[in-house]
């Protein structure tokens, strides 16, 4: 009880500190007294500290199962394992917003700390803009989603955490994703500040690049974790469903990727100033749109914790205010501070970056339209449609081919001007690509010219990226992320063409076959765990070499809240995953068994990790010369 009070008042102190910082920095700016005194710095530290206290008290309430707290009551239960009590803290709307606030104040602290050598007007202005966002979220939390609401009479037992959220990958998915999402806020504040203080130049690019990389890495990681969770917990056997909630995390990722390429160009050549600023704003706006769409209940998914329109309207209004603010600032300062260099089209790295940006922006618009078009249609024409994979496949796949081709040759271009010389080596790469692609297409048995072209593009990118390892000045950041990206595309393509599945209703003792494998349903057993009961099916897979693989899919019946989930059993090998799920059918004698071969699944995860690794290289090599 007291802990809840502590958390609540700590939040209020946090808000007061924010307001104080806001006015303090405006006064300093007005007086032109441009020092970030220890006072401002420690105030920002305090602000973070207050939110931290509040967050820790919520975690503590969850750990001790303090059911006088409404959030704990709604989302926890005494029989839950400790790990899920803790992760339950952010497995709900209120707690996750508190986490959001924690990251939001944390990145500002990090920014101020890391930008000691930057001009103070820029730092102060960034603080000022960031406080607008912070205050907005403080009020949002306190007014609409207070995590420390008390209930009376005190309940003896909680309602429990949604069982499908009781999963290790999902335990850390929100914090990682939030670091990425919320990291974009500092990019936004800094972009506005740099524009006003006329600081959009090479050193700014160098300063903000860290935060772009930071957000990008965590966003990639967060998406990866979410995807892994969907793969084995939801039991659908896929990793990406073009679900609106997935899309809203992909959109800021795409614009961050575009921004990442722009910022390097700005750093090297002082080009694309306006465009970089626009991208900074778009990126943050997209992550806010994501928060809005996911949290307001407009879209429904496991992420929608509560349908409370007042929350949605608050975020929406706040978002509009921020976008309008940045829009106005952009219009005012656009001509003042940007003496635009002429951007001439030559065969150069700049041009390659620009083309890359066009493509990414195109992909972004496709995803954006696919995500919000159904909402518009629903409101305006009262018609419900859902946009699925065919839409994205049709609009994205054909453009991937030129995109990866540009991506392959872009890195080997030079700044300002490139003279292309045709070398025998390039010829070998092309021939090798062709052979590899023909072989792959033949192997998977898809005689389709379009698929062949896709493979050619992807393999070319892979080989070209690897080829750079032989160059004298290696840029590991770029090599890793491009290699990872090409591997990702190849694995996805292979996965979608050579996966097989079979669905059967069988009884214990029966068997069925998929390709050259025999699947035998041995027995079932009932097991009791602390917070659930499970029905475990024992399956044996026999292949033609008579090797036995055992798989044990489960149906878990959680007690609080009462809910059944299907746990897939997966055997991962280098080239394919064997994936099996069972479901009970009404009359209980038969089980619905779904057995799948998912090709190259592990490569999808590995390649995404390689992409992330690329980003980490860029962070740690920041002092040396880094090209894209």
């Amino acid at each position: 009880m007291i802990i809840s009070q502590l958390g609540y008042y700590s939040l209020i102190f946090g808000l007061l500190t924010s307001i104080f910082i806001f006015f303090n920095s405006s006064i300093q700016l007005k007086k032109n007294n441009l020092v970030i005194s220890d006072k401002t710095f420690s105030l920002i530290g305090f602000q973070f500290f207050f939110v931290l206290i509040s967050f820790i008290s919520l975690i503590y309430s969850f750990i001790i199962s303090d059911f006088s707290n409404e959030t704990v009551y709604n989302n926890s239960h005494t029989t839950k394992p400790l790990f899920y009590k803790i992760t339950g803290t952010w497995g709900n709307h209120e707690g996750s917003l508190l986490l959001w606030l924690l990251v939001l104040t944390g990145v500002l602290l990090g920014f101020i700390f890391k930008s000691r050598n930057e001009p103070n007007s820029y730092r102060l202005l960034t603080t000022l803009f960031h406080q607008i966002i912070v205050i907005g979220f403080f009020i949002f939390v306190l007014k609409t989603s207070n995590p420390f609401n008390e209930i009376f009479p005190v309940q003896t037992e909680g309602l429990g955490l949604n069982p499908i959220l009781q999963d290790p990958a999902l335990g850390i998915h929100p914090p990682i994703l939030y670091l990425g999402y919320v990291g974009t806020s500092i990019i936004f504040s800094a972009a506005l500040a740099s524009m006003i203080s006329n600081y959009v130049n090479k050193s700014w690019a160098k300063n903000i690049k860290f935060w772009i990389l930071f957000s990008w890495i965590f966003l990639t990681g967060g998406i990866l974790l979410g995807s892994i969770w969907a793969y084995y917990e939801l039991g659908w056997g896929g990793f990406w469903f073009w679900d609106p909630v997935e899309n809203v995390s992909l959109m800021p990722w795409l614009s961050l990727t575009a921004l990442l390429h722009c910022i390097v160009t700005l750093e090297k050549r002082e080009l694309f100033k306006k465009w970089t600023i626009v991208l900074c704003i778009i990126t943050f706006a997209l992550s806010m749109v994501g928060t809005f769409l996911v949290r307001s209940g407009i879209l429904n998914s496991v992420h929608t914790f509560a349908n409370d329109p007042s929350r949605g309207i608050y975020i929406l209004t706040f978002l509009l205010v921020l976008v309008l603010l940045s829009f106005v600032i952009f219009i005012i300062y656009e001509n003042k501070n940007f003496a635009q260099k002429s951007e001439i089209f030559t065969l150069s790295k700049e041009t390659a970056v620009l083309i890359n940006n066009w493509f990414i922006l195109y992909f972004l618009s496709v995803v954006l339209i696919g995500t919000i078009y159904p909402i518009f249609l629903d409101v305006i024409l009262d018609e419900q449609i859902s946009v699925g994979p065919p839409f994205y496949n049709k609009l994205i796949l054909p453009f991937l081919i030129p995109f990866v081709l540009f991506m392959s040759i872009g890195p080997s271009m030079k700044w300002i001007k490139t003279n292309f010389k045709f070398r025998a080596k390039s010829f070998f790469v092309i021939v090798f690509t062709m052979v590899l692609s023909f072989f792959t297409v033949y192997f998977i048995g898809e005689k389709n010219i379009f698929i062949l072209l896709l493979f050619i593009g992807f393999f070319y990118l892979l080989l070209k990226s690897l080829d750079q390892l032989r160059e004298k000045t290696k840029n590991f950041a770029q090599i890793f992320s491009h290699t990872g990206f090409s591997l990702l595309l190849i694995s996805i393509l292979l996965n979608s063409f050579s996966s097989r599945e079979i669905v059967k209703n069988i009884q214990v003792g029966e068997s069925f076959a998929l390709k050259n494998e025999k699947i035998i349903f041995k027995k079932i057993a009932i097991e009791k765990e602390k917070n659930y009961e499970s029905i475990v099916g024992f399956f044996e897979i026999l292949d033609d070499k008579n090797t036995i693989i055992n798989l044990q899919p489960e149906i878990r019946i959680y007690n609080e809240p009462e809910m059944a989930t299907s746990e897939a059993s997966i055997k991962t090998t280098l080239f394919k995953d064997r994936f099996i799920t069972i479901n009970i059918i009404k009359d209980q004698n038969f089980f619905n068994v779904r057995y799948q071969h998912k090709s190259f699944m592990i490569w999808i995860w590995i390649s995404t990790l390689i992409i992330m690794l690329g980003g980490m290289f860029a962070i740690f090599r920041k002092n040396k010369e880094v090209n894209i």
């Binding site: 429904n300 929406l316 909402i375 409101v379 009462e562």
Partner: protein, 180 residues
């Protein structure tokens, strides 16, 4: 030349501005629009063609026959082992007293003795109660767990869906809908 450029720019800004404001209002309306999400229900229409068995008199009846003769029906999924259902019962009693709604209880994965005891202890707000031993009826409704409450109209359309126990606000809302 310069002024032409300027005009172009302001037109462009205006378009973006208009787009932003339109998006704002579209989203705002989208928020206020009723959203009832349940995987098992198509177009918010509740599936009614299945047999149910009463809790008190164990008579079998088709659920579609239950839903006749009234303008509104409130389906409440409850259980005697469910803690929040206890708090909820006073709200249900109030709804029974002050609204023209037919109150239908679905007794979820419970045993008869405990269920009847529960009603004796906390009052019986229901006009009819059916048992759902396996939890399959609740699945037909697209329910997540207990307690959960559906307000449906005479066309079997789900008007409101409340996951978790009802509260003052919900009761007020239900009264508003059904008394008009």
């Amino acid at each position: 030349m310069q002024s032409l450029e300027k005009i172009k720019k302001s037109i462009f800004s205006l378009i973006i501005l208009i787009f932003l404001i339109i998006s704002f209002f579209v989203f705002k309306f989208a928020l206020q629009k009723e959203k009832i999400y349940s995987p098992k229900i198509s177009e918010n229409q509740i599936f009614t063609d299945f047999e149910v068995v009463g809790l008190v008199e164990e008579k079998q009846i088709n659920f579609s026959e239950v839903l006749t003769g009234k303008n509104f029906y409130l389906i409440n999924i409850w259980s005697s082992w469910c803690e929040p259902c206890k708090d909820e019962s006073e709200y249900l009693l109030e709804l029974k007293k002050n609204t023209p709604v037919m109150m239908i209880g679905v007794n979820y994965k419970d045993n008869k003795k405990n269920a009847l005891n529960f009603l004796k202890l906390y009052g019986n707000p229901f006009d009819q109660i059916f048992i759902d031993k396996q939890g399959t009826i609740s699945i037909n409704f697209g329910a997540y767990g207990v307690p959960e409450t559906f307000l449906i109209n005479e066309k079997n359309k789900v008007l409101k869906k409340y996951i978790g126990p009802l509260n003052d606000k919900d009761v007020y809302e239900i009264k508003n809908i059904t008394n008009n």
